[in-house]
Symmetry: C2
Subunit: 762 residues, 2 copies
């Protein structure tokens, strides 16, 4: 198949005009011998741009001598004009092309090589080094101006559309037609294209097998989901070619624009953008001057280079805030896993078939006795978290309305009124006295208007009681009905929340929201997102899942994966647990490793205090691990198989630790990244994590990432020799050894196992 | 046709089960001999309720011996369950019946005879006198409980559905199936059923002619419009039977529920409710306990009794506010008509094809020189209004963004930032120094989310500068796209605005919003609405329009009709005016009469100061007329022909006048209703208004409405003998005479003419 594709590319270059060919072929009839060419800074990547015979913008991308993207067309189809004859229904004329009939007005090049410093991240300094080509196009028949900007990095391409201010002032997108013609039948890790849901296990298949896998596997049922095609997949899409290239198609800086899926034409192995529509089927309302998000093609010759790429962050704008002193890493526990597992409930009473916010008198309701967010239970979590150096406790189910959750109800929550057994004032006071903050929870139930109506008051309530982070949720079909989770209006909403929260100095961790596209660079109070299948899926999660996520979901920003499950038999929490979900497919050491392999400045220890109390030696790693990094070195990885990474705790944390714990502007204790080790006198601290899929494997860890000539005390947390997720998930060994940059060590990972190492410079 | 219908009714009563009949017939097979019966307090109206053979709820309504509503079915169709197999698109199972299979659990009766006092209104005391029947139904197959409450007044019926709290907790309406089988081919005054627009001239036709009139007349083009049927008409629908009954079908207290149209089955002359759908086609999301709006059938034996009916207000809840001291009648002028006529513009500059709120620097833009809301012009209006005893000046086009208006733009206005030539602080200060308030203008451009996002800050801005009333607008297709102006979510929105405004002590006058359904009783800060074709339509408005509106649109609440046009040749304001619109079809005296015939506590003098200056003697009536009433006596009326009404200025205004002008809590001058006359020593003040259609006619005014034995000085404003809208619209005579309750006087009204009288007790 790859050979076919190469031949096709060659034929396209040789034949300027194909007589009698299909429309699709004709569009691609472009003479690339005359193309404008852009080289990456190291010369490894070559991007070419030209116009086809019919004026269609075309580009291609090569890695050294290998085709990555064969000649592929760019452009839009826009909505026709409204027919004002006003019969039944709003009727629009034929769509208009914005993908052919263009001529080149001018082109210009530019380049940048800078270093920037994220507020929090996998490394403290990021190099942003690209060469740029800007082509200014004009559609001859309409006079419409459309520019395309290409930025070529050593590890990939970004391209976006830009519309200058012009008489063509407002337009509605019917389709974005950015295509990616793949040069072979690559292996791909993909989840189904979906307007509402990203919570899937990944499929691994050849591109050509996508339709058959679709049919065979079906679609995992979820609260909200809308599938549009049997060949649709979501961004980020990770691929591997048979000759060793790692290709990743994604998007960056999606702002007030729908998120895209990628729809595959099986015959040509070409993906085309498939934007998420709104309730009436349109895909974006634009006003010039405007620009699209970046469409990205990451290309490397190794998996670890893909994981080390900062392409998506680099294509986002610099930080939009002047003061970021209120944004900080957060390690938390929560009154949450017990509800997920069915041991307790979000709701308070079973007295009424329905409740009305502001009308139902909860003080007169009989509690059903299973409400998790009660004063006593919350204090229990606070006590344990405070005793173990955590920053915060998430409490879900604190506010009235949960009895009406799950019914597509408009006024489902007010985000203001606690249940009678949750004393918001006293609990916050108690938590603060122990150096713990509570994390607010705003489950919107996808009732977005209702959330926006209450948002200002809800954030003000948070300020009043000293909350500085909120976990928001979007479970269910979006209200306004017909919108999808990835509709332009929702993309607008999510960022609206983040910026409104910023004005209250609140950090946001949005669940069931859109997959992030690097916006945490610009808006660093977006400290976490779900936007993939996380720990809550319990036994459904496949062992390989966390070996794919760093290649896909995490490229766009940190995930609140909520690791740290120590009790894998979830029927112990709730005997009525669905058996499929009750058996958690992981060893304890894999759970520890996730704090390192799944980068996030927000990390939860998701299990119950009593389950940690049974393994306090292993829990020590969670207490110690840093969340914000000076440097990250990916040691080994293959998507779907394993990931091993070493990370150096941020140097500035050393200073913070030396100054004690009062690091936040309001005098509250903030999490001091790596504080335990620094406070104990370590001059330098690293953490290493490794995870594997359903296969046990031995990994040779080379400590060459450490600075030469220094000695580190390494504390190893490794799967026991008899460990396996299925029979002995809780088997582990903990031991210490001295290591240096010259050390190598073979480590065994059990089935769905892993390991974690803390390294302290002596 | 009426005979056929009567026969049909008789046959239905006689034949309990029709074998082999059609589904529609079968539904109506009900034995009314066993029906529950409800009589109006005066015994004139009889409502019967029964269940048909298949358990369909049925009702009928008679006026004395005349059928008003033949046996008609009630109920709903609700959405089927969601199919969670998650193929493409959200799929729902077959709809479920909520209109048959019911049995009667219990029935109970009740009655009320009370008097309540509206904050402002056509009379200071309203009698609310009804008899009630409540039937409790259970659908046997599902166990669903549905009650129907009937309230029978001397002038009509109200019925609504009520769902008690039960295990049937949440449901989605596919169709409401309330039907109204008319007993004859009545004459009707109707406008096309439409999800978005009520701005039509009325059609007068037989019911059977509705489809042909539809086809012949077509649909008047408007900014936003969605027609669903060639036999759909809007509420309120006014009818007249050949034997002299006046029947009006309307709705009352529409809260968080879509507004309905009425769809006619031509064969059976049966109307059925047709709710406005949301973006995905559903018509209402309900949670038990809940109730529908009232469906009303007003029946009287004269047109003046119909106009005197308080049925709609009586079916609404009492005032929801404790403090109403901040709500007051308002007589205003505005920087508005000059923009409507094209003499000036809402926008400020033509420099840019598009503008971005918060980005475009208006201070650097070149003004196009036609901006109406500039400091100098606003001061000119303030000066004139202050000199003539007005309360307020509306200023449209004061805020940035109008250059982007009309493009379905999301972030179109911020409702906060004035244009550079509108000094919001100085103008309010200047206005207040002269006893004038400015009225805020919020054109939402139908971008509803954007408005809600800014609402709190916008209302706070109003508080800051001393605005106490806002005119809001909803021109264009609603954003979120797919919603309609009458979708449940929008009904929710309009009331949300009113209640949010109330918390800021702000009165609301919403244009292009839904037609009101009596909510001003409950929320009296809803001081005005447009929701029909108003003066802005200029020459398009037919002469008969204002003789229909009191029967239809005004039944639900006051209209901001914006009368008072003195210069009928609009080409004088703007020579480029569309000739169709340039010739205003009214005499000056008809314009004066509208202040009396079109009840509203908010009245505008819409024309320009210079046009009033040319006729200050006639303008005196506008200065003098009261807006809030002790009592209203309709003297003569026929829909489509003429309306004559006498109103007594509210007695409490006398006290207010005697105390001077400082009547509002904040010390600002408030409008003192009828103050001119009272201040001049009158003990009692009345105003009379009369309007006619395209036909000139003489009216014999009988002053018997005045208290006996008292003498009044009457000042008459009548069309001149040579007046006609077409050739002499500005011809009038003004004279004074003494009158008493024994006086009768013949008054001539020109074509599209009218008259106005002020009566002051000596």
């Amino acid at each position: 198949m790859r050979i076919f594709a190469k031949l096709l590319a060659a034929s396209l270059a040789a034949i300027p005009l194909l007589a009698g060919c299909t429309a699709s072929d004709k569009e691609q009839a472009a003479d690339f011998s005359k193309a404008l060419e852009l080289k990456s800074p190291d010369g490894g990547l070559t991007m070419k741009f030209t116009l086809s015979e019919d004026g269609t913008p075309m580009y291609s991308l090569d890695y050294q001598e290998k085709n990555v993207i064969l000649p592929s067309s760019l452009g839009y189809e826009i909505r026709g004009d409204r027919d004002y004859s006003y019969k039944k229904g709003a009727i629009y004329g034929a769509p208009k092309s914005l993908h052919d009939g263009f001529s080149l007005l001018t082109s210009s090049t530019d380049s940048l090589d800078e270093v920037w410093h994220p507020v929090m991240g996998e490394e403290s300094s990021v190099r942003n080094n690209y060469r740029e080509l800007l082509v200014a196009l004009k559609q001859d028949s309409t006079g419409i101006l459309m520019n395309i900007r290409f930025r070529l990095y050593d590890d990939g391409l970004g391209l976006r559309y830009e519309f200058p201010q012009q008489d063509f002032s407002y337009f509605t997108i019917k389709e974005e037609l950015t295509s990616f013609a793949m040069a072979g039948d690559h292996t791909a890790w993909w989840i189904p294209g979906d307007y509402d849901n990203q919570e899937y296990n990944y499929n691994e298949s050849r591109l050509s097998e996508i339709p058959s896998v679709y049919k065979a596997k079906g679609i995992l049922r979820n609260a909200s989901q809308q599938i549009f095609s049997d060949t649709g997949v979501q961004t980020a899409l990770q691929m591997r070619t048979d000759d060793g290239l790692y290709i990743n198609i994604h998007e960056a800086a999606v702002v007030d624009y729908p998120t895209t899926s990628l729809n595959l034409d099986e015959k040509t192995l070409t993906f085309t953008t498939w934007l998420t529509p709104d309730a009436v089927g349109w895909k974006g309302f634009m006003q010039t001057p405007c620009k699209s998000p970046w469409r990205t093609v990451m290309v490397t010759d190794s998996a670890v280079k893909t994981l080390s790429s900062r392409l998506i962050l680099n294509l986002n704008d610099p930080c939009a805030y002047e003061d970021v002193s209120w944004i900080h890493p957060t390690k938390y526990m929560g009154v949450w896993w017990e509800m997920i597992c069915g041991k307790s409930k979000w709701s308070y009473t079973s007295d009424y078939p329905t409740v009305l916010i502001g009308v139902t008198d909860y003080s007169k309701a009989k509690p059903h006795g299973l409400h998790g967010a009660n004063n006593e239970n919350v204090r229990r979590y606070i006590d344990f978290a405070a005793a173990n150096g955590f920053d915060a406790i998430l409490v879900e189910g604190w506010n009235i309305g949960w009895e009406g959750y799950g019914h597509q109800k408009d006024y489902v929550f007010d985000f203001l009124t606690p249940y009678p057994d949750f004393d918001i004032e006293a609990l916050n006071r108690y938590a603060h006295s122990k150096g713990i903050r509570l994390i607010m929870h705003h489950e919107t139930s996808a009732s977005v208007r209702n959330y926006e109506r209450h948002m200002e008051e809800a954030y003000s309530l948070m300020n009043k009681y000293g909350y500085d982070a909120v976990k928001s949720g979007y479970v269910g079909d979006i209200i306004p009905r017909g919108w999808h989770h990835y509709t332009q209006d929702m993309i607008n909403h999510y960022l609206y929340c983040v910026t409104q929260a910023a004005s209250h100095h609140i950090m946001v961790n949005a669940h069931e929201a859109v997959r992030p596209t690097g916006l945490c660079r610009t808006y660093p109070n977006l400290i976490g997102n779900e936007a993939a299948m996380g720990t809550e899926y319990r036994g459904i999660i496949e062992a390989s899942h966390v070996t794919v996520l760093p290649f896909t979901r995490l490229q766009g920003g940190p995930m609140d994966y909520t690791p740290g499950i120590f009790e894998m038999d979830l029927s112990k929490l709730n005997p009525k647990q669905d058996p499929v979900q009750a058996k958690f497919k992981s060893t304890i050491c894999k759970q520890l490793a996730l704090y390192v392999t799944m980068y996030s400045p927000l990390q939860m220890a998701a299990d119950l205090p009593e389950n940690y109390q049974a393994h306090m030696d292993a829990f020590q790693f969670i207490k110690d691990v840093a969340l914000d990094w000076e440097k990250s070195v990916y040691l080994a990885a293959e998507p779907g198989d394993y990931v091993v990474v070493a990370r150096q705790a941020k140097k500035s944390s050393l200073d913070a630790a030396s100054k004690g714990v009062e690091t936040l502007p309001d005098g509250m204790k903030g999490y001091v990244n790596g504080a335990t080790a620094y406070a104990a006198g370590a001059k330098d601290v690293w953490f290493v994590g490794g995870v594997t899929d359903e296969n046990a494997r031995d990994i040779e860890v080379n400590f060459g990432f450490l600075p030469e000539g220094k000695t580190y005390e390494a504390r190893f947390y490794v799967d026991g020799p008899d460990a396996s997720w299925e029979s002995k998930p809780q088997s582990y060994s903990i031991f210490s050894e001295e290591v240096s940059s010259a050390t190598t060590k073979k480590i065994h990972m059990a089935t769905s196992g892993g390991f974690a190492i803390e390294l302290k410079e002596k």
